[in-house]
Structures are given as structure tokens and as C-alpha cells.
């Protein structure tokens, strides 16, 4: 890895490391790629809990 900071002197604490973040999970990677290709039959559904909170069973009456 090249020096991320470039200058006319040597810094006290070199910044050469990649950002320290946990590796991305398969689910995260797949989600990002899927969202980037949304269109037509390419649809993505978030895994978020969904509870019906409308009136009755949602069927039209009357």
C-alpha cells in the first residue's frame, strides 16, 4: 500500500492502513449489488419484520 498522505515531510503517525472496519457480510454484499441493479424483474425485499396494523383484515367491505 502506498502512502495515503503525501507531502514534503514525514508525518509522526503514518496513515498507511486500510480503514479498520469489519469485513462485509455476504448478506450486505448481496444487498448492495441487488439494490444497484433494481429494475424490471430485479426486485429486492428488505428482511424487516412486517406486521399488519390496519383495520380488520384489509379486505374492502360495503
Amino acid at each position: 500500500m502506498s502512502e495515503l498522505l503525501k507531502g514534503n515531510f514525514k508525518v509522526r503517525n503514518p496513515v498507511a492502513a486500510e480503514e479498520r472496519r469489519p469485513p462485509e457480510s455476504l448478506a450486505e454484499t448481496q444487498r448492495k449489488r441487488a439494490l444497484a441493479s433494481i429494475g424490471g424483474s430485479m426486485v429486492y425485499v428488505e428482511r424487516t419484520p412486517l406486521n399488519w396494523d390496519g383495520d380488520g383484515d384489509g379486505r374492502k367491505t360495503g
Binding site: S2, L4, L5, K6, G7, N8, F9, V11, R12, N13, P14, V15, A17, E18, E19, R20, R21
Partner: protein, 529 residues
Amino acid sequence: MAKILIVNPVIREEDVPKHIPYGLSLLASIAIAKGHLVQIYDANAWRKGFGVLEQAARADDWDVIAIGGLTTSYGFIKKAVHIFRECAPRAFVIAGGGFLSSMPLEIMGWIPHIDLGIIGEAFVTWPEVLAMLDRGERDFSKTQGVCWRGADGAPHLNEVRPNIKDLDVLPYPAWDLLPLEEVYFPKGSQLYFSEESYTAKRRIDINGSLGCGLICKFCWHLGTTGEMIVEPNEQGVNDVRFTYGRNIRWHSPKYIVGMVKELIRKYQVDFVSFIDENMMTMNAASRGLWLPELCELWIQEGLQPECRRKGVPHDENCRTGVHWSGTSHATLAKKPILDAMFKAGCSHLVYGIESFDPYILKHLGKGTTQKSNVEAVQTCLDSGVRPIPNIIIGFPDESFDSIRTTLTHMVTCGIHSKPHFATPYPGSEWYYTYKNSIIEQYGGELEQFILSLGDASSPTVSISRNFSAMDLLGLQQIMSKRDFRLLDQAEKHWKRTRREDVPLAVPQESFNIIPRKVNAPMEDVARAI
């Protein structure tokens, strides 16, 4: 001497980094020449995330951390400045560039950790501020071209700094402080605009001039063109005002060719992109001398590409010389100069065609007509240079008729385009005249509009009398597909269902715009930087 960290913010995150931070690296060069210790962290090139920016802020005991960029980098800058304050509390934070010059009082309010703003052209102000900090001075109330904070933290804007007279006193940018080999050459060299830029392996940006004589209502210059002055507003508070005044300046052909030769010597560049606002208006301002002299010297100094020397089509075997691209204007680009540019190695020229509708063009301040736009495309092609015509939709007077006219001529001229959306960027005339409509469309939150700004390929706010963002998105799609049937259908339905003529955006007069020529100051004599 000051220990300085300069940070280039991330911009156009959806694309690979293609453009070096020309202005920031120039300021780095000026600071180095004055004896300061300078480091650049090019966040836009590296794209490493804010964790690495934190490391950069902790890398040394910085006296100054400086950041600047276009308005579209505002979101990054805001977050970055917060990090600077957290990780380097002792550092004096300086901001500058377009994002600040267009609306200094608002920005200083929204980002309270900026200690000092540099407004407009920074070539003289920047080293002067650094020298003051070196001397331990913190009173900037008499310094031209800055927005400083009072004891209560409130921003105060000083008078504008005169533009420098002679651009050739500027050093070359500090290219060594940029990740050219690691990022820009391998990732950002190739451009799809022309065969020559498509085969570029070591492309770099250069700038030959500052300013543009035109007064396009969607465009902005932010003090680098002699169009910005500072005066007390209705509340008696100093604020920026943008005018039709111009201090247009260009580098001598000798300076430019010298810079390219240096780029070959140090980095073996094979393509340079002129990022000038509009090279053809510079040529007009020089009475037609600048570009012919540049082309002549380009060839004389051995920069003419091999294919042009031999008079053969360009291919990947063209190994010597430097191809280049630039910016042009429909009315000002004539065949003789285009021929000379092609001969010297010019591969493509970006034209702000914008529209082919006569009424829209008449009210744009661009000085072009439907005829000049059509002829410009053909004349450019005839010379061998490829035109890159920008198209915009969503102008205040945009209508189905104007869209149809533009699309018809796009097809005739062989233009494939997914048009930009007319966007009132801060600093432009339309930003100030439609500011109230913008604020209304963002529920009273102007900062949210600023955060939403990108490269105008997505709608942010509509300044069109007739069309909402939804309409414009559909029209953009129809134009990119060249689908006249859908356009006819959309118009029929739109006319049938539109109940009343309620304009979506309404222009208003603004303190910040003076629609006439009021020149900002320029130094009388050239002085060394």
C-alpha cells in the same frame, strides 16, 4: 512555518475518481514555496472512508487543516470538519472553494467548526493567512477575501480580494502530493468521449484559464472571474453579490506547453484534459490569438501526437505526443481554429449546447442560437474533433414544444444524450432568483437542498414553470430513448389533465444577484505569489 494537512473531499462517489484536485494542489504548491510543511490526503482518490480520515487528522500535530471543493462535496466536508475538530482539536480549520464562496454566511452557520473561510480566489489570501497564523495572529478582521468569526462565533465577511492580474506567476500544482500512479492514472485515465481519450493510459487535468465572458443563468464562477463583490445586504451585513462583471485571464501558451512538457518528463502523460470553463471564450477575449499560438507552440515543442503528424486515424499504436481535450462554444468555434486544434492533437471538445429551442436559448445568456448550435456540431465533426454536446432539460420556460424541438435536432445531429436537469447551483443567477421556490420545495430546509446536489443527472429541485420532477424524469427517459410517440402521448395526457396553470417555481429579485456588469477588483500590476 505551519504544518498543514489539505484534504480533498469525495465527490461523485458513483464514479471512479477522474479529476485531480487542481486548485488544492496548486495551493499546496504555493504553501510549499513559502516554506510550509504540507501533506495532502486525497479522500476522493482513495475512497477509504471516514475512519482513514480520522487517522489522517491524527497523523501529526497539525497547525492548519484545510478543505475545499464544489457545492456537491458539501455533505462530505461537513462530516470531515466535524472529524477534524474531534481528532485534531488544536488545528485551525480553513475552508474555501465554491461550496463556501457561493453562500459564506449560511455555510459558516451550518458548519460551526470552520475557523476561517477563504472566499473567491485564494492565491494571495491563502499564503497571507498562513503567514498570519505563523506569527500567532488570529485577528482576520482586516484581511481581504475571508469570512472570519467574531468572539460570539458569528461569521463576518470582509471585502473581496482582488483577482491576480497574471496567472503565469502561479507555480505548477504539487502533483507529487497526489496518488497519480496509485489511483488517477490506472483508474481515471480512460474517458469514453473519443478514441484518443478511450486509449489514454496516463491522462491528467490541466487548466489554461480562469473565467468565461458569458452570463449563462445556470452557471457560476464564485469569485474567480471578477464577478463577485461584497456589500452590506438589506440587514447591513456584508454578503456576496454576483454580477456580470468579468476579469478574464489565461495562461500564456509558453506556460501551458511548459507545464505539459514537465508532466511528460515527470509522469509520461499521454493525454491532458483542459478543465477550463470555456477555452473558446478565452480565445475570443484574446482576439483570436490564444488558441492558434497554443496549437503552434504545441507542435513546435514536439507535443503533436504521432497520428496527427502522420495524418492517419488514431489507434493504440499512436505512442508519441500528447492528445488533449477542452471546452468550446457553438458561436465562437470556427473551422480554422478547430482545424488547428485537431492538427495539434485535440480529440474532443465539450460544448454547452443545452437546448435547440430558440426561445430557451434566447433567455439563457449564452449567446447561441438554434442555427449556431446545429452548425457547431457539424463544423466540429468536419474538423476531425469530436463534439461532446451537453443537453439540459427543465429550463424555466421548458415546454413540450421545446423538448420536441431539442429532441428533433438531437436526432438530426446524431446526438445520443440522457439530458441533465436544469439545476440552480448556489452562485448561479437562477439559485438566487429561485431561492424561495427551492426553500419551499425542501420544506423550508435549504441545507437539505445543498446536501442533495450532485452532477445534475438526477432531479433535485424544479425551476420549470410547467414540469415537476416527475415530469422531467419521464421526459429525460423519453429523450434518451428518442421516443417521439411517447412524447406525443405524454403531451396529450398532460394537456388533458392539467387543470390550472400554477407555476412550480417563481423567479424573484435577489440582493445576491446584480444582473449587469459590475467588475470586481483586479490587481493593477502582476506580482509574484
